[in-house]
């Protein structure tokens, strides 16, 4: 081993392509899409579709969620535990509202047009708190707790 190789820890990488072809469609095998649960895929598809809402889609001057807001929504959907599909609606200002229900408990997540995230917990139909800054793990732990 030369002094230079030891200092830089050079590694010779065998050229390899991650591109695979399935039925004529190329996919990068390095991106792990196989493991995404169907509900997450479906939710992400809804988020993508809402990006194409027309101007004034709600008759109140509503705007479609911008790319940055959709990206935030993707990240949020990928970060939550696998407890099933949320209800998803776009909000008039260009954000999203997600809602998960387990028995009498609900979590409402608001992704705002400025990409901030607000949460609201609901128990037996009564809102518990506003603008909750609880982390995702604690929120969903509460949702599934008895």
């Amino acid at each position: 081993m030369t002094a230079q190789a030891a200092a830089t820890n050079l590694v010779e990488q065998t050229p390899v392509s991650h591109v695979r072809t399935y039925g004529g469609i190329s996919a990068n095998g390095a991106i792990p899409v196989d493991g995404i649960e169907p509900w997450r895929t479906e939710a992400i598809q809804k988020v993508i579709q809402f990006g194409a809402l027309p101007e004034n889609w709600d008759g109140r001057g509503g705007v479609a969620p911008a790319m940055a807001v959709r990206q935030k929504a993707f990240e949020y959907l990928m970060s939550v535990p696998s407890i099933g599909a949320p209800r998803i609606v776009p909000t008039s200002g260009g954000g999203f509202h997600f809602e998960w229900s387990v028995g009498p408990r609900e979590i409402e997540i608001y992704i705002e047009p400025d990409c901030t995230v607000e949460a609201l917990r609901v128990l037996d139909g009564m809102p518990m708190d506003d603008n909750l800054s609880m982390n995702v793990s604690a929120l969903f732990h509460w949702l599934v707790s008895k």
Binding site: G59, G62, I88, S92, H97, E99, E108
Partner: protein, 149 residues
């Protein structure tokens, strides 16, 4: 903190009902027992955090008119809730007729529901808190209307 909301309009009867239009999407309606349904909270939220909720008075229009008003493409649903319920949740209800020449106008039935969210200056100006919108959505029922023409 000062309550700078307009005064509740006493000429609007408790027994009157409010029609709130919202976009029909896969998840915008939550089915309830008994074959009825309610809107999802996010569907009722105003465009901006500092705005009140917009509605129409049932005494001055039909739910079909609320649904089909203006040039927006839709499809839309209409949520129904009584004025008394909105007031009981803390909303002030005021008339806000929209004159001819504006989008969705003229609309003499138009009213605003003022909530208690504090503005950035610490005063109450009619914006709506999430829990207020949430409870309003829970108390509302989606109108069973014939298909839009």
């Amino acid at each position: 903190m000062a309550d700078q909301r307009p005064a509740d309009d006493g000429t609007i009867q408790d027994e009157d009902r409010l029609y709130i239009r919202f976009r029909a999407t896969d998840d915008s309606v939550v089915p309830l027992p008994g074959g009825v349904s309610r809107p999802m909270t996010g569907a009722l939220l105003p465009r901006r955090k500092d705005e009140p909720i917009s509605a129409d008075l049932a005494s001055l229009c039909t739910p079909g008119e609320t649904r089909d008003r203006g040039g927006a493409a839709g499809p839309f649903h209409v949520a129904i809730v009584t004025v008394a319920t909105a007031r009981a949740l803390g909303f002030r209800v005021t008339r806000d007729p929209i004159p001819a020449g504006q989008d969705g106008a003229p609309n003499l039935a138009h009213v605003l529901l003022h909530g208690t969210r504090l503005a950035l200056d610490g005063n109450m100006k009619g914006a709506v808190k999430r829990p207020e919108a949430e409870r309003l959505a829970r108390e509302s029922r989606v109108a069973d209307l014939p298909p839009a023409p």
